[in-house]
């Protein structure tokens, strides 16, 4: 018994403490317990799965799940190579463990691309060891054995379960090169697979960050400066502290935190708390932003991002010049679950629990902030109510840690919707000025883009299409350091740049008297045959999504009364072409349908992939139409969904989602379907109404299209 217990503890330690194990066996009889000393290093590198002797197979998904379906997709890949019964697999979100996992973050649609090989190898290594163990047991060559649904099967048709092989499998020597399945052998990948979290989500049992509780935990909310650029002068909490359930009111870093026994007393206290703020400088407003944009678009200072050929010459010799400026506002991410985090900070350690897209950075930042050794900080990932990039920034996790360290108690910090919407880290406001030249034959000879952003960094994507297909190019960007904080928002930069560029290319086509689809194909031909300088995209894959969507939507031969707009974009290593169909009835336009053709390589899960296409298009339409934050006195005017309009059920068009699925290694899908959407809509609107839209949100730019959804 003694030994048994020791091994059991060791296993526990190994699974939870960071050392990585391939197979373990928890809580079984002494004979079934594996001595960890004998486990081979190679097997230990297999961080993603455990199989116990009762045949319970657990797959760990390390990357934060924000609704993009990664938890399911990752597990599908491991399960495919391991060859197990999907229905019997348990999938768990792994907590932060930097020794065990690389790149444990969700951002840039990069997880699948990054992990594809790793996950397959993790599964395949397990399968290899199990097959080898079976071959020894039966004394037959491993090549005569097959696997299926968690069993190894020999030529006689005899079966042995993975669980029964675990004890022997751990001592199998693992070669450097592990054979992987060919695409043709896939049984799971490419199927329609439901999310592994449905059961808990649909019964209300799933624990989101906001739902996390621990005994003795207090609640906190924070009142932050009302306008960006303000500081805290003083506050009076006399009345607030009188409210039953309020424990304390403290301040730190220009913020006032109310601590209470539950959320409602805190919310009441906020109403009677008197706070005075100081304006240390001129507070920003829409008017000020307009001035900045106008000035910087004219005078820069611009940084040159790319230069090909001689743009001045191209413009001087042009047959026609086309110019346009596009504008977009700041946007809130507004994931359905507002920011929140749990922290229990002790003198030399901290426990953090909550929703974050970047757990490791939360750990590092809290370590630095509170001067606690990194190794003494744990981060548990909860289920997350969306992210859209907002949870890449851990400001709220840091706040929770700071409050917990100040009040010396475990605390759950919650942002209200108003806090969330006025708390910054927005999609930056950006403006683009395009200029293009065409020759007599209608060829595009020059293409120039100036991007100006407020805290946008480089607001261009200088090596993306149509760059590489045009001889003379100049791409420049300028950035203004605004007090309004910004951060990546689903498909950073391209969420707006794509619309501007795709609408502008439509304008070029119109000016050149060319069909918009044909113009793109012509340009791509050039990029295929004789690319100009460095390009980041593969023109042939581009071409394929374009021709496919044109076919599916019967481009050019739409029914009478239907007007089609085309758009295509390459981002996050995936290609998406879209055609939007607008119907004109009695002078009123209505968006009827969006066709989307996507090349993200192999589609891992049809259901998850489709969800991402639907979601991204709906997101793209809603924000192009309505998304808007206006600023006055440094603060956004919109603070909740009554003024900040999000797209609803009755507004979504039919969507036709098609995948190329060319067998190429998979790339990300959480973002790429969003960028082309605004362009497809704007171009369809132009066809229907004859009016070009240059400014988002469209509903405010043109009353006639306000009801198009």
């Amino acid at each position: 018994m003694k030994n048994n217990r020791r091994d059991f503890l060791k296993n526990m330690l190994l699974t939870s403490g960071g050392l990585v194990i391939g197979f373990n066996s928890l809580g079984n009889s002494a004979a079934e317990i594996i001595s960890m000393e004998n486990v081979k290093d190679e097997l230990l590198s297999n961080a993603f799965l455990t199989i116990d002797s009762n045949n319970l197979i657990t797959i760990f998904s390390p990357n934060p799940e924000i609704g993009q379906g990664i938890k399911t997709a990752f597990a599908v890949i491991v399960a495919e190579e391991l060859d197990v019964d999907w229905e019997k697999v348990v999938v768990k979100q792994a907590d932060l463990d930097i020794k065990r996992f690389e790149r444990q973050l969700t951002g840039g649609s990069g997880a699948i691309k990054h992990s594809w090989e790793r996950l397959r190898k993790a599964g395949a290594t397990g399968r290899y060891a199990l097959v080898a163990a079976a071959s020894k047991k039966w004394n037959v060559s491993a090549t005569t054995l097959k696997t299926d649904k968690g069993f190894v099967i020999n030529e006689k048709g005899e079966k042995i379960s993975y669980g029964e092989l675990v004890n022997d499998a751990v001592s199998v020597e693992i070669p450097k090169e592990i054979p992987l399945k060919s695409n043709k052998e896939f049984k799971l990948i490419g199927q329609t697979i439901k999310s592994v979290d449905n059961k808990t989500v649909l019964t209300g049992k799933a624990k989101y960050g906001m739902d996390y509780k621990q005994p003795g935990m207090l609640y906190a909310q924070i009142v932050r400066p009302q306008g960006f650029g303000q500081t805290l002068k003083d506050f009076d909490a006399t009345e607030a502290k009188k409210i039953d359930g309020v424990i304390d009111v403290i301040s730190f870093k220009d913020k006032v935190a109310i601590i209470g026994k539950s959320n409602w007393p805190i919310m009441k206290a906020r109403k009677v708390l008197t706070i005075n703020w100081t304006n240390t400088k001129e507070l920003e407003s829409d008017t000020k932003h307009n001035q900045i944009f106008t000035d910087m678009m004219k005078n820069g200072p611009f940084e040159v991002r790319r230069k090909d050929g001689d743009i001045e010459k191209a413009f001087a010799e042009a047959h026609k010049i086309i110019e346009a400026e596009y504008q977009c506002p700041f946007l809130s991410h507004s994931p359905m679950e507002p920011m929140n985090f749990f922290a229990d900070v002790k003198k030399d350690s901290a426990k953090l629990v909550g929703p974050t897209q970047t757990p490791q950075s939360a750990q590092n930042q809290v370590a630095k902030l509170l001067n606690i050794p990194v190794e003494n900080i744990t981060v548990e990932l909860t289920k997350m109510g969306g992210g859209f990039g907002r949870r890449l920034n851990n400001d709220y996790a840091l706040e929770a840690a700071e409050v917990s360290s100040l009040i010396k108690a475990p605390v759950k910090l919650m942002w209200t919707r108003e806090d969330d919407m006025s708390g910054g880290i927005y999609r930056p406001a950006v403006r683009y000025k395009f200029k293009a030249s065409i020759d007599k034959a209608g060829n595009v000879t020059g293409f120039a883009l100036k991007g100006v952003g407020l805290n946008a960094g480089n607001s261009t994507r200088q090596d993306n299409f149509p760059v590489g297909a045009i001889e003379n190019v100049l791409i420049e960007s300028a950035d203004y350091k605004s007090d309004i904080t910004t951060g990546p928002w689903r498909a950073p930069i391209t969420n707006f740049l794509a619309y501007a560029e795709q609408a502008f290319i439509d304008e070029i086509a119109f000016a050149a008297g060319k069909d918009p689809v044909k113009l793109r194909l012509e340009l791509l031909k050039k990029a295929i045959e004789k690319p100009v300088g460095k390009i980041t995209y593969e023109p042939l894959r581009f071409e394929k999504v374009i021709t496919t969507v044109a076919e599916r939507a019967k481009w050019g031969s739409a029914k009478k009364g239907l007007h089609q707009g085309f758009s295509v974009y390459f981002s996050h290593n995936s290609y998406v072409a879209q055609i939007a169909e607008v119907e004109m009835k009695k002078g009123k336009p209505t968006l009827k349908k969006v066709f989307a053709v996507t090349d993200c390589g192999i589609v891992i899960n049809q259901s998850g992939a489709r969800n991402q296409i639907y979601g991204a298009i709906v997101d793209g339409l809603g924000h192009a139409m309505y998304g808007n934050l206006n600023f006055e006195n440094g603060a956004p005017k919109q603070t909740n969904f009554d003024q900040y309009r999000l797209i609803r059920f009755n507004e979504v068009p039919e969507i036709d989602a098609h995948f190329i699925d060319n067998g190429i290694d998979p790339t990300g899908l959480g973002e790429p379907a969003l960028p082309p959407t605004g362009g497809a809509l704007a171009n369809a609107i132009f066809k229907a109404t004859g009016k070009r839209l240059y400014k988002q949100p469209f509903a405010q730019e043109d009353e006639k299209v306000a009801e198009i959804l």
Partner: protein, 154 residues
Amino acid sequence: MSEYSLSINGKKLKVDVSEDTPLLWVLRDTLDLTGTKYGCGMAQCGACTIHIDGMPTRSCVTPVTLAIGKEITTIEGLSENGDHPVQKAWDTLDVPQCGFCQSGQMMTAAALLKENPNPDEEEISMAMSAHICRCGTYHRINEAVKLAAKLQKR
């Protein structure tokens, strides 16, 4: 603070809260029924939808006192084993993305189908447009309501 006795998911429960406390916070903070979500606090998003005597209700703007003597149902009590037709349909069609809005969506769908077992497009749209799904799962919600209507008849 006062003591109130409530009937939630078929159980009688006592809570000690102030009279103006919205049911949402009673459920979530006091009773640990966290399946009901907070999304806006102002009757805009529907994430907090529960049933009071079968009527879909925004718990974020409903003070606890309004629920006294009434039967409250939350997502945790929609069915015993997670097999309400709406839950089954939502699973079959793999509706959730992040899932945060879905308890509210399902509570509204369940109430709609109880009242009106054969809703047409317009009726479904009317009911479901009161909700926000930031992930944009509306297409599948639409199909799922229709599937749930079919399952309910069996």
